[in-house]
Structures are given as structure tokens and as C-alpha cells.
Symmetry: C4
């Protein structure tokens, strides 16, 4: 099959997103961000097996929803591309996905606490994060989402939510654009840090579900302001 070329501006934005996620402390050498192909909804774009800070245009590969590369590449793929493929399959509304080991989020997953929105910036967390326990599907594993079955199980745990904690591993957030998913990955991490600090200081007055929804809607019009800053920090590609 001939794969239509994705919009070059989308590829460029995906490269920038990789660098922003590193610069903002969401990913280190590991973690990845993908975006759905702008012309073929059953395809998505994701870097080859590369540290996000080092990703360049030529590293971006196009995958189908079985996690198979449909553009030529000599490079190894990420083992966990099935996180992306199965979420794109199960969630037609999702346009972009970030998987990371963002540090402040890890303690929530291993202690069974949900992320809940401390402040308006994290309104996208709504009534709280989803939780994924890989043992329920895979028993004792290497913790990686290395096949479609585990990917489906993760997507099921995510359900209709924006963020799923993966016990003993990390987390995954989804969004309707690269900018939105990067925003959510950054503020999931910030919210986790603030929520943990608040937990040690007393009872927390979280956003109500309605406050969370209204704040999430309001923030949509403001993401560009932060994106400009994040992009400026990582320079042009």
C-alpha cells in the first residue's frame, strides 16, 4: 500500500513535542509521544527507538494499528508502540498520546492513589486518573506493553479518561492535539507533585467535577501561550 505523506508541519510539531517533553522533565532517555496521521486515521506517527531529546525529522516512522511500520525504516521501533496503537484503535477521539515515567506520578501508581485536580491547570483530570494493573492481564511480566494484548488491556483501563497510571511503570495521557497532550503530560506531573505535598499538609479541597470541566474548557484557549514558551526554549529544529 502507498502511504500518503503526513503534513510536514505535523511531523515538525511532533519532533518539537519530543524535545519539549524532555526540556520540561516529563521524559528522560525513555518515553514517547505520537500523533494520529492527519490523512489516514488508522495510522500514527512515532519516532524510532530514540531518546526524545535527540529525535529528528528522519526518525519519525508511520505505524498502523497493529504496531507495524508502514514506512521504510532501518531503525528499531519502540517496544511499547502498542500503547499508542491500541489507544488509537479504541479511542477515535484521541489524536495524540504521551507515555512517560514522569517522576512525581510514579508514587501514585504504586500506592494506589488517584491523581485528582488540585488546581485549574489540571482540570483535564476530571474526577481522577484511571489505574492499570498489568498483573491482572499478564501476571508477572517485564512491565512493558510489548504486544497488542497488553495494549488493549491498557486502553480498556484508560476507558474514556485522559490519564492512566501504570503501576510500577509510568503513565499515559491522551489529547485531541499534540499541543493538548503535551500540556496534559506536563501538568499531570506538576499536579502530582502538588497533590503529594498537599496530602502531607491536611485534607484537600479538590476541584469539583464541574469546576474541573469548566477549567479544562477555559484552558483550551490558553495553551498556545505556554506552547510558545516551551517551543522557544528548545529552539528551532
Amino acid at each position: 500500500m502507498t502511504v500518503p505523506k503526513p503534513d510536514p508541519a505535523l511531523v515538525e510539531k511532533l519532533v518539537i513535542a519530543n524535545r519539549i517533553l524532555y526540556d520540561q522533565g516529563v521524559v528522560d532517555g525513555l518515553g514517547h509521544v505520537s500523533v494520529r496521521h492527519d490523512a489516514v486515521p488508522d495510522l500514527f506517527l512515532l519516532s524510532c527507538n530514540r531518546a526524545p531529546a535527540l529525535v529528528v525529522r528522519d526518525d519519525i516512522v508511520c505505524y498502523d494499528l497493529d504496531g507495524d511500520a508502514v514506512t521504510e525504516t532501518q531503525e528499531r521501533p519502540y517496544l511499547e508502540r502498542f500503547i499508542h496503537s491500541e489507544i488509537y484503535r479504541m479511542r477515535p477521539d484521541v489524536v495524540a498520546v504521551v507515555h512517560s515515567h514522569s517522576p512525581s506520578v510514579i508514587p501514585f501508581g504504586v500506592t494506589g492513589n488517584r491523581l485528582r485536580p488540585i488546581y485549574h491547570m489540571a482540570g483535564f483530570l476530571g474526577s481522577g486518573s484511571a489505574h492499570f494493573e498489568i498483573r491482572d492481564t499478564g501476571g508477572n511480566t517485564d512491565m512493558l506493553i510489548r504486544n497488542a494484548g497488553l495494549g488493549k488491556a491498557l486502553a480498556s483501563s484508560l476507558g474514556a479518561q485522559t490519564c492512566v497510571l501504570m503501576r510500577g511503570h509510568g503513565s499515559t495521557v491522551v489529547g485531541n492535539s499534540i499541543e493538548q497532550v503535551v500540556y496534559r503530560a506536563i501538568y499531570a506531573e506538576v499536579n502530582a507533585k502538588l497533590q503529594a505535598q498537599s496530602l502531607s499538609m491536611g485534607s484537600i479541597n479538590y476541584l469539583t467535577e464541574k469546576e474541573a470541566r469548566l477549567a479544562a474548557d477555559a484552558n483550551e484557549s490558553q495553551i498556545g501561550r505556554s506552547w510558545n514558551l516551551w517551543q522557544r526554549r528548545v529552539g528551532t529544529i
Copy 2:
């Protein structure tokens, strides 16, 4: 009406203040700092909708106390300019205002703890920070001070104090100059971090009200030393 031009040195200082607040970790892509017009007390200067680190001279817009721009601009305003307009209206002594989501302060707002002065640098906190609960005025909102009514409610909660915590959102500090309000925004954040750490270690011996007042007075003559450093770090504009 013809608006007198503000002192160019004041505009320049406001731009530098924006950059300092970013460099010192008080603001990220969001947050804003304003100053009262030096010639017309019913006007104030504030950037257009821009990340503070990226603000330049031409971004500075002059607003009246209804939050309407009185200088020509094609740029969008900050949604929350009413934080500034209503505080300037209610507090003639206030010359400069900083609104931020400064991270260490957030846990205090959501757990109902007041900031109190841990050390002389935070003497300006006096007997403690004020608290603003937006639900009391607006019920379930998007948490933003997006109109004059909410701005008035926030200014009322601030009262005669220097710092007001905004539950589920951030905080606002006021001062009698750009230098002073920047100093207060930075040390409100530092004090919050130290106070939270101290709370986990035992009973805190806070500054007395008199110690706080005397320390605040003494610090006034020393702000220039820190300002020189902060300014040097962000370079010339």
C-alpha cells in the same frame, strides 16, 4: 481620551520584572505582573496575553480600572486582568501586583493553611496570608477571575494584607513598587516551601507580628541588592 505616555523606564522595568519572575520560578507560561501608571492613578500597565518570559516593550498595554485597554492593541488581553483592576481600585496604596501559580504556595490554598513568616525575608506576610474561596461568590466556575465581580470579591478577600491565596488556582501579592512586589512574589514562594518542610518537622516558632513588621521594614533598604542580581541573570532587554 488621550492617555499620557508612561515613563519609558517604568515600562522597561515591567518587562524586566516579567522575565525575573520566570527566571526565579514564580511563573511558568502563565501568571502576570502589572504596575500602576506613573501619571494617571486610574490606569495600569500589563502585558498582552503573552508568556512572561517572552514579554517585550511593545506587549505592554495600558488598561483602565474596568479592565478595558486604553491604548491601541491588536493582541488579546489576559482573561484575568480584573485581578489587577479591582485591586488597584480598592487599594490606593498598591502600585504593583503579581498573580501567579507559584508551586509551593498552591498546597496551602487547597488545604486551608495560611502562609506565615518563617524568617525575616518573609516579614511582609505579617500575621499571615488572606484566603479567597471563589465558590463563595461564583459557585462552580472555571476558577478564573474573568470579570469585575470576581475581581472585587478577590480584592475584598485580600483586604489590607499583602498576599491572598486563591483556592485551586494560585495566589496574588501586592506591593508599593515593581521591585517590592517581585521580591514578595519570590519570597512568598520560598517561605511556602520552607514552611511546608518545617511543618513536617515539629512545632514552628514563627516571627511575631512585631518581628515581622520590623523585618519587613529593614528589608526595604536591601531589595536593591537582590534586584541587581535578578536583573543581571535575565540580561538587558
Copy 3:
């Protein structure tokens, strides 16, 4: 005796490892990393008494398992080279050793808590870190592993494990390559930070021993990705 020259690429990699450990916050002015000689298993390579960030090729000295330099050098040795010599003697499988005062690990040693794997990145911790109490061998000392006897005691405490906490001092990790031991030193620190945060939030669901082993195996094929990033950050030598 004539000492065969080590592979120049190995020496270069050891220099880079020194710089990476500083850049990643594992070592400050102190701490050291060594590698077994590629041609003579009873020898190992270690810098002279130099801060890791400043180590250059000419600083690398070759030592025997008694901790005596076998290449000419005018420089002072590290007092604690016996950490390395005695581990190489007791553990033929070990190819590289890092000793550090990596900050987040210290509180575990002084409170008698073991490091245990919070997430897949720390699978190498297996069922937990070993513990070394210098008082058991040396009584009141200056805490340093400054002779072969203390080195043997430390190596005994390490046993067959990958990481030993040294009460009131720091920790030591071992690996089968420079890349692996650097990876382990970095993620021992990260895991310690996350484990401490998790302890304050509730009961921790650690990796099982089998999950830890499987994750450690899986990570082996991914270390290169992180190494590329770490190396890029410190530049060429």
C-alpha cells in the same frame, strides 16, 4: 611487570562515564567509577584523585587487586580504591563499579531501609539492596574504605547483589559494563527518591522478584538509548 595497554576506547568510555555521573547528579566533587582491564582481569582502571567532572584521559591509572598502581603516575590515588579492588577480587562477574554519595540513597542507609524496586527501571534492585555497617568491622572509623580489610568487609556485605548501602557514607553499585553500572547508579538514585515519596503516601506495591528480574533483562536492550542521551549532554572528550 609490563602492563598491557587497555583498549583506548574503554579508557575514553570511562572518562565519559565520570562526566555523565556528575551531569546526572550521582556524584559531586567526590565519588568514582572504575572498570576492569579488558586484557588482564586482575587489573582495573580508575582515575587519580580528581573530581569526576574534571577527569581526562591522562588521569586514568591502572591498579592491581591490592589497590597498588601498576602504571606510572605522579598523582595521588583515591583513598577508597579498595572498594573497587576487593569487589573485583570477590566478584569475577563484575566488570564495572560506581561508588557515590548519591543524595536520595543516603537516608535509606542511615535509617536501615532497603532500596526496593518501585518500577521497571530499577528491576536490577531485585529483592532489595544490601546493607554495610562499617562499625561491625572497624568500630569507630572515619567511615572511609581506606584499606583492604574494610574493602573485603564491604564486598562481603554486597554479596551477590547489585547495590550496597553504606551507613553514614553512601552506596556502591556494580555491573557487567560501564554503561550498565552508570545506568544502575542513576536509577538507584531515582528509585530512592520515588520510594521515599511513595513511603509517605501509603503502602507500596513493589515489583515482585520475578517482575524485577524480567524488567532488568528487558532493560538491557534499551540502555543504549539513554547512554546516547547522557553522552550527548556531556559532549565529546
Copy 4:
């Protein structure tokens, strides 16, 4: 009186010490470091009222033990030069003094906890830090050591120890050289951070007094290694 010129190398080292203390996070815009005059023990060298990161050679002023400048200067002095003058008067063994608001140390002072040595790097803390309560001498003050009387009270609280916590203010450390006092200021901060973390994790096995003394002695021969690194980071002056 004609004041003998201090050794230019000593002045240069004092300037470098100022910059190191900023680079290492011990001081921000405030705080200061002094050294006793190499030829006249009743004099000491201290910058004029300048942020430490910005101090240059010409800022160094010579003071007598009453805190009066004995070299010509048009610049304002630090208000708290009496910290230095009175410690030099009471402690002939002291050659250098650092006063700071080093952040992790503050919570100890306000909660009445002593710093105690967590690890060998902080052996200089011996059996623990001294505590200074300014209210005992001055009642309600602005917290500053702004005259000889308060300086004497502080020096008395310090006694024969190396570090004194100043409630609601900061701390002061002393040493027998610039290198040693900088080392102590840096590791008092590191130890405070580690001690606070350890306190939240269980009962702490501190260094014994003998371990602390032996470790402090051993570290003396290693300070140069760290100093080389610190100096390299701040560049030449």
C-alpha cells in the same frame, strides 16, 4: 593608621568563594563570606553591600573588629558585618566565616531541631549545631545582627562549635580557611536536606562523636578536590 595590604591571592580567593556559594545554592542575593586579614589578625576582609554572585575584587573592604571600615570605600557595608567581627574577636582559631539563609537549614532553626551529621561529609557538625535565639538578647527585633551587642550574643551561642542556627533567620558557619568554611557551608545545607528526609523515614543512626571527628579530619585532605570543581564552575575572575 596604615593598613597593610592583604595578600592579593587571598582577596581573589574571597571573590571566588562568593561566587561558589551562589553557584552551589548556599546564598541567593543575600548572605556573605569573610576572611581574617593574613597580616593583621584584628582585621578581616568582606565585600561591600553586594549580592555575592556579583562581587568583584574592588568590592572587598577591610574592617576592624568593631565593624568599621579601615580601607576607603564609597559603598554601603553589609548591615550584619557584626556577625563576622564578633566571631573573629571571640574565636582566635577562626579564619573564615559564612553567613547565609541556606534553605534546608532554616526549618531546623524554627523547629528547634539540631543539625547532626548524617554522613562523613558532615563530620564537622560533631555532636550537633548550636542554636541562637535573638529574642533572648534583643526581644522583638528585625532579626538582623546589626550591632556589636547582638554579634556578641551570636558568638556566645556559637561557642566552640562550627555551626550556629539562627531562629527565623539563617545560619553561620566558621572554619580555619576559606576553602574549609565554603565546604562546611555547602555540606551543612546538604546534610540538612538529607537529615530532614531521613527524619521522615525512621530512626536515624547518626555518626558517633568519634566517627564525626575522624571523618572531619580525613576530609581535610580531600577538600581541594571539590574546590577545584567548584572553582572551575564559576570560571576565572
